[in-house]
Every structure is written in structure tokens, then in C-alpha cells.
Symmetry: C2
Subunit: 135 residues, 2 copies
Amino acid sequence: MQVLRASGMRLSTARRLVLGALFTADAPVSAVQLAEDLAVDETSVYRNLEVLERFGLVRHVHLGHGPGLYVLVSGAEREYIYCDRCHAVTTVLPGELDPLRRRIRRSFGHEVRFTHFALVGVCEQCSQPDRLQAL
Amino acid sequence: MQVLRASGMRLSTARRLVLGALFTADAPVSAVQLAEDLAVDETSVYRNLEVLERFGLVRHVHLGHGPGLYVLVSGAEREYIYCDRCHAVTTVLPGELDPLRRRIRRSFGHEVRFTHFALVGVCEQCSQPDRLQAL
DNA sequence: ATACTTGCAAATGATTTGCCAGTGT
DNA sequence: ACACTGGCAAATCATTTGCAAGTAT
């Protein structure tokens, strides 16, 4: 929070609310959801998320289609696997994909992250042909 | 093309144009771009892409933010790595990520693809602190 | 002749911008 | 006080839907 006031940004009520909501959220949340929950104007939520993102306190992910989903930045970032069949979201703990990251690094030179776009694929249950899942 | 008429879908001029443009394109193209290039209404392009996608002839990718980008389905799909610093797109040949896919499969049970969301990360040049890239 | 298709207008969903009144510091 | 913020209206971007006229089969 000191980060903000050090940059001349204020700790307004709305800002505090957004930060608080993201802090207690156990999953990524959309801006619209936040606005609704906190009774703060959507515009303000977006603007707050934007400054928080700019200062590296917040980030957003995209699971399948749909709006961006916001999370607090924690230093050790979670990554996500999204099943585009049943829409299940699997959270990957920080570091868990590091070997994979290293491999891509070696092959392509890129330092990749799955913090912005989830890993998309079909989950175990959905790949079993017998018990069909929701479309 | 036989796929279409077998399903009662017609090979209209617009449809043929879209298919043709995607066939000769050497990179994923947006619907708006296609509409502009082909002088076909955006709506029609979207509708055509939708049916082509529904019949598995076309798919779309998301590199960073921005509109969906369409490509012809080829059976052996290319995947993409996107540098979110310099916006460079690296094409990954079909199968090249299979070892990685197997590894994820073993660890998480998911069969992932990078055909819908690109692999996002910082490319080799951009990770060199000396010569700075475009913001 | 009968569906599928087209273009144009209008709606939708996500996000951004303008503007002025309100408020943290 | 001054500059950063809030809400509300309106704009923007990507995409979808409604509808009447057009066309492939």
C-alpha cells in the first residue's frame, strides 16, 4: 500500500475496497463482479484495477473467453489450467511449472508464463469417452 | 469443401473468398481484416467464420489482447509463442510441443494445446537488459 | 421453390474516455 | 488548495442478432 502513496496515488475508499475484495477472494474475479459486490461504479473499478495493475499490485488472467479476471499479485504467482470442455479451472502452484518453463526456454529462448493466458486443454474426466460431460 | 455441401451449407461467393484468403494467408488474420481485404461485410465474415469453425475447417487464436485471429485448420496444427514485450509471434511447428504436452499430461492429466491461447512470454532479445525494445 | 446467405441497422459485452463534482493529503 | 478520484453518460472495440431482400442448389 505504501507503494501507492509513494507514487502520489491515494488510498481512497473504493481503492481500499477493491484491494480488500481481491485479498479475500479465493479465485480470480471480474471487474463487473467486483463492482457489483462492492457497490462501486464499474468505471471506477476498472480505473482502480488499471492503476493497481500499473503499479504491479494486481494482474489479470484470461481463462477461456469472457472478461479478464483479476487477482492480487503475490510475488509467487499462481498459474491456471482451464478445461474448455467442462470449464473447470485447476490452479497450479507457483514454481510447479518451472521445469516446463526451463524446457521452453532452452528450446525457444522464451521465458513463458501462464499467468495471463491459462493453459487450455481437456481435463482428465472430459477426455474419458464414456461418461460425457456438459457441452 | 465437400464437408460443407454434405451438411447443406452453401459455397457462396463470400464463403469462398474467406476460405481463399485464409488459404493464402501466411499468418492468422482478424475478421475485420478479412472483411476489409475482401470487401465483404464484417457481419458476413463473422458468420462465415462461425460456420467454418463449427464444421472444423477454421479455428481462431488469441495472441496477446486484441481480436481473435483466424487460421485454416490443417490437421496438424501450428501453435504460437507471443512475446508480450515486442509483440513478436513465433510459430511452433506441429508436434514440436508434444514432449511438453506429455509432461503436462502426466503431471496434471490435462491434454493441453496452444492453438487457442498462444504461449505468452518474453522472447530472447527482449530479455536481454542491454538493448531495450519497444514498450 | 426452399433454405441458406447477405448487408445494414441495432443490440450486446467488455472496457475506455470525457467531464465535473467530490475528497484524500 | 491541489491533484487525484468518483460517478454518470457516452464512446469504442469485438462480436452477435434481427430482419428483409438476394441467391445457391
